[in-house]
Symmetry: C2
């Protein structure tokens, strides 16, 4: 272990990919689960396109991002759920003091409040919406958090009857907690969280707002969440 530890080198180089303001900003932006073009990210991060191009090269080479080239555009997205979880976990460690700060402009403030109400966190629901769903599942005995974090048998049955296609056979964690950084509480992630989010968007329980990661619950979604999980509309506002 002493002089040359390949594990330490690997750990350091992985962390090194994230240890840059600009790349960190990209990773956080990509946490919405969508694919961004290089130009969008450059504008977002406030650096020259050339600079960002080099950053993307490193992130792709390091396996954190997957790229997809379409004509003159280069789309990148997080390479997978593992990477998303890693970035989330790391971001969750950042002390709120360094993270916080009130919004500055009216436009930003409004965007912030929409995000706080409901958003996607890579491939699952977060914000007050994510918390409300998670709490409702827990309260109804469908998800147990007191001895770990897992769906109950009744929970699996609930997914079936609600028509949410749930595949627990993959290598991916069936259900895990993801710390919500606006609510500072855990919400449902993993295969179950992703299935629920996908289904909710597919059948119109909620829709994306504009081009960002914010989502809002539709009128029909409000009814469904009320009848299936007993979530009062007030918890979604």
């Amino acid at each position: 272990m002493s002089i040359k530890d390949p594990r330490a080198a690997g750990l350091a180089s992985l962390a090194g990919l994230i240890a840059d303001r600009t790349r960190a900003a990209c990773l956080l932006a990509l946490l919405d689960g969508r694919a961004w073009t290089a130009g969008e990210l450059a504008r977002h991060a406030g650096v020259a396109a050339s600079t960002l191009s080099e950053h993307l090269g490193k992130l792709v080479a390091g396996g954190l991002l997957a790229e997809e080239r379409q004509g003159r555009h280069r789309y990148v997205r997080l390479a997978g759920a593992r990477v998303a979880q890693l970035v989330e976990d790391l971001a969750a460690q950042v002390p709120p003091a360094e993270a916080g700060q009130p919004a500055r402009t009216l436009r930003e403030s409004s965007a912030d409040s929409a995000m706080a109400r409901g958003r996607t966190c890579y491939d699952h629901l977060a914000g007050r919406l994510g918390i409300a769903v998670t709490d409702a599942l827990t309260l109804r005995g469908l998800l147990r958090q007191d001895t770990g974090f897992a769906l109950t048998d009744a929970g699996v049955e609930w997914f079936r009857t609600a028509g949410v296609p749930l595949d627990l056979s993959g290598r991916r964690s069936p259900a895990r907690a993801c710390l919500d950084w606006t609510e500072r509480r855990p919400h449902l992630a993993g295969a179950a969280g992703a299935a629920l989010c996908r289904h909710a968007l597919d059948v119109g329980w909620c829709v994306r707002i504009g081009s960002g990661r914010a989502v809002k619950v539709t009128a029909s979604g409000e009814r469904v969440l009320g009848s299936l999980l007993g979530i009062p509309p007030s918890a979604l506002r």
Copy 2:
């Protein structure tokens, strides 16, 4: 979010603490959960004491390490379970290609095989021992991994009857999966894993080998694990 994102800065600086070979080596060494002196770490990492002193300063300032000064010694340890989990998660992402490599000397090879047999991973059991316990719990319906990762009611009862003091009331995750980097499979971590490990060491089911993080099961431990969990002695060798 655009020009100056405090969250990105925080994420980058946190990652930056880990993004150095020497500091990474320290963090991995400290994953054994014990407190090391600055000198020990310097020798372990193969750098001058003065160099390491500066690294420790950064890690402590960044909240990753806690220090305890005793006379002319400076003991450091991981600041808590959250940090340990973070380092584990990050290390688990490192592709095995970069991590692996066969042992070099006979001494190291023997130490490696002892570690593969059983060791502590911060505050819980890992290696074949950790996997054997986790698998046995799962097989007997005490731990469920099919819909998440949580103890069952029978599992909580098992801890009680086995005399393992289990406190699920804290803020800490009651049970979570930790990816074992020799076995490449999840083992029990979190409050339950820590309680089990502490109890096993307290009552002599296993003992530490030398000064490292390797542990071995005692004769009495073998009997107890056999009768309480049905673990065959062959799974512990």
